[in-house]
């Protein structure tokens, strides 16, 4: 306790060690896997992401031209991004915002 006292006093008078979130938000690091997204125009519906996903959170429907991810089952490992042959999947560095209702993220490719 006595050895710690100077440190306690220093911490009491110095500025906060934490940020006043959400007023002050730090820029995310470049490599952060915060949120999975798709550029649906480039998707060829090969289902590789869905097969390789360890948590099975991606569903691909070739007939309906629909790609869907359950962001609450996703473990943000980024394997789908690595295996995608057309590089249409990518990770945003911003973390997913809290939501009142759990909804899957869906992308439908328009008819060409």
């Amino acid at each position: 306790m006595f050895k710690m006292t100077p440190n306690i006093v220093k911490n009491a008078v110095s500025k906060y060690a934490t940020r006043l979130y959400p007023v002050e938000v730090r820029e995310p690091f470049e490599r952060v896997r915060g949120n999975l997204d798709i550029d649906i125009e480039k998707c060829i519906f090969c289902k590789k992401c869905s097969i390789k996903c360890p948590s099975g959170c991606i569903t691909v429907d070739k007939d309906a031209r629909k790609w869907e991810v359950d962001p609450y089952a996703c473990v943000y490992c980024g394997i789908c991004v690595d295996v995608c042959p057309t590089d249409c999947l990518f990770m945003h560095p911003e973390y997913r915002k809290p939501a009142p209702v759990k909804e899957p993220k869906t992308a439908v490719q328009p008819e060409k």
Partner: protein, 357 residues
């Protein structure tokens, strides 16, 4: 007259649910019986449902704090079984991230230990210093705790020269701030009063009961699985950290010095990092049996993997260090003051999710 007092599964000092049934007589513990089974998730069973590549992500989730080392151990086992030679750069990168995990795990534990003997400021100070390592992991691997950098055959991410020099700068700063806490943990009157001579585990008992990791080294036995030279550890210079006190203070100091050792190991690995590929080609399916042993922050972890040539494994058995450290805990508790039970229980660094998988 004896009274039975339940300690846990919900207790302010316990990060995870461990239940101890304590028989006390006049505030002195005479007997302790442990119960686990509150957070069993059946991860080993998933080996029959997920293919052996996907199992990397499953074993990472056995324990949050040492996730990288779990995945590295599993990959090492599969690689041994399939005769894959991992590129040297990948081995070094695994060491860098593994040691980073050890640093953050020990700092987390030192904070919790400070909390267990009631020094909240020290707890917050430890976690404040720890945040720097978490930032390094988030910036280099993409996540703070479960970093998913390992894959069978190598690693998934590389570190650029700019990142390596940034890591060195961060570690220099972290070492400076961390060393400022040494006098508090080592010499402070209050801290010594709460830890010296508390939770005694004799050298012979530690050996007989099969203690692992810092609990064993805190009792004066120099055993560290990294000394066997798996991965890139054979190219690095270090000695196991040993303390002879056999008490909670010794275990604290072992972990404190291991943080400094890990910082040194990361520096060595960065300076000797070879150029080259990140992954080796993985062909075929695993077949056979293998046992891998590596050193985790809490001690030795053992993986037994059995496969019969298809994409699912037959068995993936994991023996985690906390499981080995529960019998020594039961040896430490009889004769202890009831007020010292939180300190003693925490001194083995219990990770119950690991133990139950």
């Amino acid at each position: 007259m004896s009274t039975v007092i339940p300690f846990g599964p919900q207790h302010p000092v316990l990060p995870e649910p461990l239940h101890l049934k304590l028989t006390v007589k006049d505030e002195i513990v005479t007997e302790a019986l442990p119960t686990i089974g509150y957070v069993h998730r059946g991860l080993e069973w998933l080996a029959q449902k997920k293919d052996f590549h996907q199992m990397v992500q499953v074993v990472e989730r056995v324990c949050g704090i040492c996730s990288c080392i779990h995945a590295a151990t599993y990959c090492q086992g599969i690689e041994e079984m399939m005769d894959i030679e991992v590129p040297r750069r990948a081995e070094f990168l695994r060491v860098i991230w593994s040691e980073m995990h050890r640093i953050h795990s020990h700092m987390l534990w030192l904070g919790l230990m400070a909390d267990s003997f009631g020094l909240e400021s020290l707890f917050m100070q430890c976690w404040k210093v720890r945040e720097q390592v978490m930032d390094v992991m988030e910036a280099t691997a993409g996540n703070r705790v479960i970093i998913s950098v390992n894959q069978v055959g190598g690693v998934r991410r590389d570190l650029s020269d700019a990142q390596l020099s940034w890591i060195k700068d961060v570690l220099n700063n972290l070492e400076k701030e961390f060393l400022a806490l040494k006098s508090t943990f080592g010499d402070d009157y209050t801290v010594r009063k709460r830890t010296v001579g508390v939770g005694m585990l004799k050298k012979s008992s530690a050996y007989d009961l099969g203690a692992a990791g810092p609990v064993l080294r805190g009792s004066g036995i120099a055993q560290d699985m990294r000394m066997t030279g798996y991965g890139a550890y054979k190219h690095l210079d270090f000695e196991p950290v040993v303390e002879d006190g056999c008490d909670s203070w010794s275990r604290t100091m072992v972990r404190f010095r291991e943080v400094l050792q890990s910082i040194d190991l990361v520096r060595q690995a960065i300076s000797r990092l070879p150029e080259g590929e990140l992954t080796a080609r993985v062909k075929g399916k695993p077949e056979g049996e293998v046992i891998v042993r590596t050193e985790q922050p809490r001690g030795e972890v053992m993986y037994y993997i059995k496969a019969s040539g298809n994409k699912f494994l037959d068995r993936c058995r994991i023996r985690t260090p906390t499981f080995a450290n529960v019998p020594p805990l039961l040896e430490m508790l009889p004769g202890a003051d009831l007020a010292n039970v939180p300190v003693i229980a925490l001194s083995i660094d219990p990770c119950i999710s690991c133990t139950e998988r």
